[in-house]
Amino acid sequence: MKKSILTLVIVVLLVGGLLFAAIQGIGSFIQPVSEGVVLGLDLVGGSEITYEAVIPDDYDYEALPIEEGMEVARTMMQQRLDALGYTEASCYISGERRLVVEIPSVEDPEKAVQQLGATAVVSFVDADGKVWLTGSEIQDAEYEYSPTDSTGLSRPHVKLELTDEGREKLHSASTAVLARSDGKNYLAIQMDGEQISAPYVNEALDTNSVIISIGSTEDAEAEARYLANIISAGRLPFELMTAKQQTIGASLGEKSLSTSLKAGLIGLILVMIFMIAVYRFMGLISCIALVAYSALFAVAISVLHVNLSLPGIAGIILTIGMAVDANVIIFERIKEELRMGKTLRFAIDSGYKRAMLAIIDANVTTMIAGFVLLWQGSGTIIGFAVTLLIGVVLSMLVMLVLTKALLKTAVGLKITNLKLYCA
């Protein structure tokens, strides 16, 4: 009896704690579910754009492997996103030659698509805005360390390799800039019209390689690498074509979220009513477990920062139905055992034991399907697989352990009228 009361108190505290953690969050580790979960673009609105590299037939794979080219393209894209003010946007490489850009809440998605997808133009401009040299005359850009100077230091700098045509143009540019008498003897390097660097010209340049010095600040190396990268981007050897675009208006997204949550809540309540109607006291216990499961699930997706989109929500709702399945199997077994005249305590033990194999086998096969989705799926399907897998694992845990503890507690508290167990 004492032990039973203790178990009951622990369970109540546990369920209450989980609910609290899900809604309010605990400390910095467990955020409230409303903050911890990353809502997909289809729920908050925004744009997802997939660009595909169009590799020309005469592409020189030796000079720039596709992989490196994509990395350059990604750097370029990030630079453009920042320049255009999409600070919350993210950008990643998907597969071999696709680049995915995600922008939450964008005012004019089509304009963004075009601006982002355009090929970057690097140009060398003088103080009057005259363009002397463009990216097509740059053969290569890389960062390296200068030979040690008189102070014994080696500094990072960017080295540009020009074509012969570029060399001529640079020569005339540097001569012109050097001849200026207004003190503006520099040649600015711009990308898409934005100034990246403006080195001063000390002499007329007649060489294929140009060195851009980057001071000696702490992050000079990072800056040199960055510069080399975006200058390379200006001579990106392939075009970026819009392969996929999905833009969802904020109000459409909100509507999807609210209706799905409403459907889930009503569904949950209906399932609870059904369980209590059919399994009476055992059904009630199952309902408590269901609340605990929902709370635990919320905590889990919050801690794991699951990216939740529409199919993911459908996955959650599906796992609610399947979570109850474990209990249905067990309760049917317990009823059977009771019908055979076993005592309640024995029927509960035996019911759980005999149902266990079926539950494990059934859940393992569902998990197989989930893992295959995770492996082959993309985007929202992965979200669906993640919620399905979390749901299967957590529901096994909660629906088996918690209901068993509660049923045993009930027996310990002398709630043993068999009518309550519908035998």
């Binding site: 005012e107 074509m241 199919p311 197989i368």
Partner: protein
């Protein structure tokens, strides 16, 4: 343990077999014809074949005059005709078209948004897929289904016996084909959600089948007499309440989504609902009796 003397599923297998054949025929024939190059049987969404889908939330109800006017505006904007212009929900206007360029998409958007003063940031969505992305998706879908089926077969063969694995896979294919039939008959948009729905049903249907098979495994040990068919029948009836109750609880939530959800959710919930019902039917009427057919003539002795 007593054997059940009520309705025998194993003895009526022919009847269920015929019912199932009728249900899968549409899906199977459509699948074969589509693979042979016949178009238009499945309502392929742009996910698989590439194209553009616009959706606008208009401040007015969408009826025939609105859709006609939208088609006109579309034509004027880029000089091409859209594939289809339909309403979606009360105020939703949906336009489907082939692959469009960046500027074409912008022109169409502006034409429609200006006419009906749509707030682009809120009431507008567009989805564009190129054919190459679509091809990759089809490939991924095919690989995923195949790998899942093989892995599940291996698992069941390992946990039960090989014949039961084959029976379970047949039930699975049956469920998937019935789903395909529904996609053809109800013109459900065939898109990326099909993969998720199909794999959910895969997991769910196998779940139900395994609960029955688990009983067979157990009853085989405990029943004193009887041939394999009787054991199967007894097991099916032993697990009948569970089969029905679980179907109800899972179905309830999905039906709520079907009633309350937005169109993209509904397109996802409908095939899952069908799959759940179908999975229940196949686990009760098909998989067990089929295992019995594969085991024909074997008398169970203790």
């Amino acid at each position: 343990m007593e054997k059940y003397r009520g309705f025998s599923f194993t003895k009526h297998f022919k009847l269920f077999g015929i019912i199932s054949l009728i249900m899968i025929s549409v899906g199977l024939v459509s699948l074969i014809l589509t693979l042979c190059g016949v178009n238009g049987l499945f309502n392929f969404d742009i996910d698989f074949v590439g194209g553009t889908t616009f959706e606008f939330q208009l401040p007015v109800g969408v009826d025939k005059t609105v859709t006609d006017r939208a088609a006109e505006l579309y034509q004027d904007a880029i000089g091409k005709a859209p594939s289809s212009v339909t309403s979606s929900g009360e105020n939703g206007l949906r336009i489907k078209a082939l692959e469009l360029s960046d500027t074409e998409v912008e022109s169409v958007r502006d034409a429609i948004a200006n006419e009906y003063s749509v707030d682009i940031e809120k009431g507008y969505q567009v989805e564009r897929v190129s054919a190459s992305v679509g091809r990759d998706l089809s490939k991924a879908a095919f690989t995923a289904s195949l790998v899942a089926v093989v892995l599940i077969l291996v698992y069941i063969a390992f946990r039960f016996e090989f014949k039961s694995g084959i029976a379970a896979i047949c039930a699975l294919l049956h469920d998937l084909l019935v789903m395909l039939s529904m996609y053809v008959i109800f013109r459900i948009p065939f898109n990326i959600n099909f993969i998720a729905a199909a794999l959910t049903i895969l997991g769910y249907s196998i779940n139900a089948t395994i609960v029955v098979f688990d009983r067979v495994r157990e009853n085989r040990k405990n029943m004193r007499t009887g041939n394999f068919g009787e054991i199967v029948d007894t097991s099916i009836w032993d697990t009948m309440t569970r089969s029905i109750n679980t179907t109800i609880t899972t179905l309830v939530v999905m039906v709520m989504l079907l009633i309350l959800g937005v169109s993209s959710i509904r397109n996802f919930a409908l095939p899952i609902c069908i799959g759940i019902i179908c999975g229940c039917y196949s686990s009760v009427c098909i998989s067990g009796p089929l295992w019995n057919v594969f085991n024909k003539g074997r008398v169970h002795k203790r």
